[in-house]
Symmetry: D2
Subunit: 341 residues, 4 copies
Amino acid sequence: MELIEFTPTREQFSYTFGGAAPVMRIKPGTALKLWTEDAFNYALRSVEDLASNKISLAEVNPQTGPFYVEGAEPGDTLAIHIVDLTPARSWGVSSAIPFFGGLTSTDRTATLQEPLPDTTWIYEVDTASNTVGFVARHSDFTVQLPIETMLGTVGVAPPSREVRTSLVPERFGGNMDTPEMRAGATCYLGVNVEGALWSLGDGHYRQGEGEACGTAVEGAMNVTVIIDLIKGGGPAWPRIENDDFFMAVGSSRPMEDSWRIGQVELVRWFEQLYNLHTMDAYQLLSQMTHAPIANVVDANYSVVLKAAKKHLPTVSAFDGMHALMRERATSLGSISYNPHV
Amino acid sequence: MELIEFTPTREQFSYTFGGAAPVMRIKPGTALKLWTEDAFNYALRSVEDLASNKISLAEVNPQTGPFYVEGAEPGDTLAIHIVDLTPARSWGVSSAIPFFGGLTSTDRTATLQEPLPDTTWIYEVDTASNTVGFVARHSDFTVQLPIETMLGTVGVAPPSREVRTSLVPERFGGNMDTPEMRAGATCYLGVNVEGALWSLGDGHYRQGEGEACGTAVEGAMNVTVIIDLIKGGGPAWPRIENDDFFMAVGSSRPMEDSWRIGQVELVRWFEQLYNLHTMDAYQLLSQMTHAPIANVVDANYSVVLKAAKKHLPTVSAFDGMHALMRERATSLGSISYNPHV
Amino acid sequence: MELIEFTPTREQFSYTFGGAAPVMRIKPGTALKLWTEDAFNYALRSVEDLASNKISLAEVNPQTGPFYVEGAEPGDTLAIHIVDLTPARSWGVSSAIPFFGGLTSTDRTATLQEPLPDTTWIYEVDTASNTVGFVARHSDFTVQLPIETMLGTVGVAPPSREVRTSLVPERFGGNMDTPEMRAGATCYLGVNVEGALWSLGDGHYRQGEGEACGTAVEGAMNVTVIIDLIKGGGPAWPRIENDDFFMAVGSSRPMEDSWRIGQVELVRWFEQLYNLHTMDAYQLLSQMTHAPIANVVDANYSVVLKAAKKHLPTVSAFDGMHALMRERATSLGSISYNPHV
Amino acid sequence: MELIEFTPTREQFSYTFGGAAPVMRIKPGTALKLWTEDAFNYALRSVEDLASNKISLAEVNPQTGPFYVEGAEPGDTLAIHIVDLTPARSWGVSSAIPFFGGLTSTDRTATLQEPLPDTTWIYEVDTASNTVGFVARHSDFTVQLPIETMLGTVGVAPPSREVRTSLVPERFGGNMDTPEMRAGATCYLGVNVEGALWSLGDGHYRQGEGEACGTAVEGAMNVTVIIDLIKGGGPAWPRIENDDFFMAVGSSRPMEDSWRIGQVELVRWFEQLYNLHTMDAYQLLSQMTHAPIANVVDANYSVVLKAAKKHLPTVSAFDGMHALMRERATSLGSISYNPHV
């Protein structure tokens, strides 16, 4: 298996899905060691750095990529297996950006109220305990929280000639901001344009479900992934598989529509996997789905629908791609999987 | 501790929160062994029984209660600790009621389309393996799923003179349909009327998050609870505590509002528990909240917000009520807690 | 036609639909001259009176009624024809109640922001010009706006044993807050309980569509209505007819669901009125419906769907009830209709 | 005033806002006579032509343009005054596209139900009576409806490098589908990229508010517009002015957010126009806004907020641009304004 290392220069970042020239052409079956900048583009480095001075929402979530996958055509399925996510800095950062986030009015849920106070938090990484440190800004409360790395943003170029900001998740993936996008996960995305043009970024050292304040513990990341291609079978919405779960992700507004999208996608998958009638797949999943919210802040809200494999007969999705990639990953050496707890 | 046993007659069921005369007066600190009928009022007993013939949505979720708690006044906090939930029948039942559920149009999300086919599924209880059996109606697929008992409906009389159906969750609790309402959980509800007038029902042998098709594996239940009263401190929305998590539940439409309600409630709780500034509570919870959806079907959608105790300094909520009730529960004898997995 | 005059005492007001004893029994075909108190219960009388001190949202929209209509049974249709609405005071009042209204966070669209400043505006009635005067609180801007009287709240007792606050509109009508509820309109409501138990209140001297700040130019009102009963045919959601339009009102959340409800109700009405196939009614109304928003503030949002009669063949709805009531109204003497402009 | 005539070839159509090369450079102050193809790209020409066979949602709403306006820079305001809209064919067409429209489940409001039957309606234009004829497909009902021409789609290139389909309205305008976009209206759009890159299309011979079934009476159109540029002052969301109203349009999901966006935009405009405090502008508009829904079908829903000039002191918006353009329009000769009724 070929292993490519790539650290983008500042000029090489893209801020959209679609619309950017590929940084590289790769073959299906390639492994990549990538470096991703933090969501704020390294603009917030201390609690004195405030988002209202330093951040433009038109240039967040810098993407490493896009990569052109040889042979990928519309209708195909791109498989992105995350082998490892390791913090690339000794600190992470979070911010309550004015009029951005879940517990404030925004440019969409518009009100006439004043914004919440622009505030920045710095989290020191403690590699010994594998934690990041929360330090209250208005009292002396501190607490250590486990590092549970994930990628906020994984996606491909959208269909219909569109170019979309890396801020808003959609059918093509993008800024779904789910903790499920972690080491050990295989993400399946429908290919919309030749070469697929996938990219990733927005590493989180840790994030709660919902990403309530709008930002996670954001940080630069060392990312190891394996890429492969399945001809045909492109799913309508992003799917994720790991050793334990089949998952689908819906991203829309209002949030019940995100849920509907993801739950229907999982029903369709189960019809296929277990040769089930629609009504039986609907019923079975009604009794076994986990439904964690991913984000309520990225303009489109994301919901993850998960079905545990342990309850089910063994089947093989996408021609056994996930198991295959797990095996290949072992050949990459000392990669430690990072099960969230 | 006094232990009361009560099995309602069919005439004693209530179908509302508020508006029904109490079946009994109890003192704070009482334990109760109760029996609850299934959500369908025992009307669906085979796959031949169809909801469209046998069910009126005006008479589902029959409630055991209401109980009048002596000394309870508006503004107080009612604590309901669930000690044990044991299936009271050898089978459970689920139904895709026409124009009810999450992946169909409804009387609210109204369309001109035909309904999905009215279908009933029967799940046999296997006490040896502690599972219920899913049997597909349109193929020969079967699978055993673990029994994970919970109560769909726990609530008190609403404020403002209202009487509300046991179908729709709200500020007063009610049909939240969250798997978190299981043995080992303490539910805190704000008291709105003298005596609190709490009731419960709608036992589920198992339910996926979201309750996608609108119904769980519904079944009659043997319920053991302990009731207590905290003067004052009534929360705006339902809170739940177990050994592992602090939780709040929001129920509204659209689903982002359910999330907002629950997340704000948890922020307010954390301000109190850890003496945190609002912005620090907001930030801290943004990095540690779990946000499972409870239901997307009961007219009001419910979302649960959870913060894991293990990451946090030890504190005592509601004067240590949860720990106290856990201790009292042990005095009730051979109760096995039922951690979901 | 019998004409009953009734001015409630303060103790006779009700604050719910359902749950209150009738103030009177009337026969179908009765006219009533009623007096309604303003939505704030006469608590705000100058710009110094602030909602946060003087108002409880549990006691707003005092209702005149409920009235028991002899012979009314579940499934019937109650017709309420508004003959005249005349201001009963020389001033009206509006308020930006903290955390209530459309351009602020609320108890449902919950955020952590500060409320907007609690502010009261008094509007003097000028009977000569038939206007109310807006007087800015923060500059010397003033403007006269035409009086266009309407009733915020018209409803019957809800089904399923429920009792609902007069603050929130629903299937049974209630606080729909639409300017269409004015003199010349006939409102059709499905009867849910014996006697129908209708009431009305919340007079507005004027209101914009949406009722953006949460309150209209609120004022006590002299109300003349005629009541009649149609056996059977109770509509699922409120319908309104005037000389120019057939209308239906949906009230739910999110607002697209309010729209869906009302648009489906109008499609169902058109199937009946013109013997149309569902798809043809859907298409025809797609090209001719007016869709003004009524309120975005009353917890449930209301949308009105209107189809102009002038484009359509003449038909008779509900056995010609509207025309009949218009004729009867003339017998009541010098009633001036009040077409909005 | 320069007058340019332009009829695009089929290859010149664009299907996005942003991303397409300009068809022409024009100077501010130019008048244009344009031709626009119908939303279906001339693919539906009889009731036998069905959307599921002939239409791809990736190629609807072909745009005439984009036009590069000399001197236009980000932050400026583009003014598009519609002088005349005249049907360019003798028939219009409407379609209930499967899983598209307001009273069906869609790819976002996803359910497991079957689609509504794919159906096409042809409307003959009667120039004598200025009507289009509705002909029921399932009975012999027919009715003539007044022609009230409008443009579904008017917009500029979006910010943040994005390229967006001509199907979905947003901050940059686009497929707002409001009947207010008719002859006599001036639309103000914030410029996001050099040259503004505006385009228009999707002519409707008639449309109900909401565009319930997803499509209007669609038809090719002869379009006369005047274009001008105001340096600076670019509004956050589209504004419209005609002789009678100041308007703002919000487009998002859920629909209450569309309303919030538009109502806030109108408050901000009134603060400016009348030098009002935010709370006074909020109050005044609460009592005088009209709030018709524009569309509930284009993925993003659009709501129009309107304030009648007749109640207000005379002021001049955008340096009197609307009055100026109205005057210029008269110089173009026999243009008949088309007030909707």
